[in-house]
């Protein structure tokens, strides 16, 4: 369906529609920004299961496999 002729109402409401569009775009950008900041503040963790990854924690002691006590 093609709107061959623009209704007068569309012209009158153009500024309102553009304004609302910009507000929605700004809102999306804001939520995205918040998400980035919140995720970055989570610290060192693996993305797939959201648990702390020991080798990324500063000053963590890594025990070589061969030196691990035998069961």
């Amino acid at each position: 369906m093609v709107f061959s002729e623009e209704h007068d109402m569309h012209k009158r409401r153009f500024s309102r529609n553009v304004g609302l569009g910009l507000v929605l775009v700004a809102f999306v950008a804001l939520v995205f920004g918040l998400t980035v900041v919140k995720v970055m503040n989570l610290g060192e963790m693996q993305a797939f299961d959201h648990v702390v990854r020991p080798e990324l924690v500063p000053n963590s002691v890594r025990v070589p496999v061969e030196e691990a006590p035998k069961q």
Binding site: H7, R13, G19, G33, L34
Partner: protein
Amino acid sequence: MSDAAVPHDKEAGFGDYIALLKPRVMSLVVFTALVGVLVAPGQIHPFIAMTAILFIALGAGASGALNMWWDADIDAVMKRTQRRPVPAGKVLPGEALGFGMALSGISVVMLGLATNLLAAGLLAFTIFFYAVVYSMWLKRSTPQNIVIGGAAGAFPPMIGWAVVTGNVGVEAVLMFMIIFMWTPPHFWALALFMNEDYSKAGVPMLTVTHGKKVTRAHVLVYTILLIPFAVGAAFTSIGGPVFLAVSVVLNGIFLLGAWRIWRRDEVMAAADKYAVEKQVFKFSLLYLFLIFGAFLAEAALKPYGLGGW
């Protein structure tokens, strides 16, 4: 509105929806909330701080829209408010209500998600307080309406503080009390020379119900009550010598102005066209700006070892 045949001059533009949010009140909210965030101990990410202030301001705007929905009958009667979107016929009352309710929900939920539940709860309470307790209930039933309404305007710095700390400290309460006590003398000084037809609108304004002599006494009493909070804040963690000096000077000038208002009668006021009342009203705006500016100055000086005691 689905009606395409709306008269051109009655069509709501984007600006009319902005006007529903009372942008001038919002600017004060942004400033005081920003001070609350910046003086609070602790650190939050600047982006989160910016988001929090934005949603506090949006919440304040939402309560403004709800107020314009409820008070459309009053606004239509008074000259100053006749051009507001609802009495002007540009926005339907139901639209203003929906707009206010939707923005209330968005601002509270987003503030809660961005920061913490206490800040979101305080914002929700502020909106409820302004829209329901003040607008719907007390505004039309008591001449002390200004005092109660002032509480709604006093919450933003407390919310800003809660955004950073997650609690409400004595400093946040003092910032609240400063705005709360400042509102009555500020507004009644205006009411003395505005001569709005509040009685026609059915709003019991102190100048109408009790006369201007009583209003003058109220300006002085509330200014005296304001001083302990404004000076006392100097001795908390957000105060310091700079704040104390600024506060003592500002409160001295404010008290002198309130004293002069109290000493005058209507004959004297009419003779110089309410010069003193106008002067005090203008100064009260500067007072609030400088008091909160002094809080900011203390916070800004702290990293250099100069702020605080």
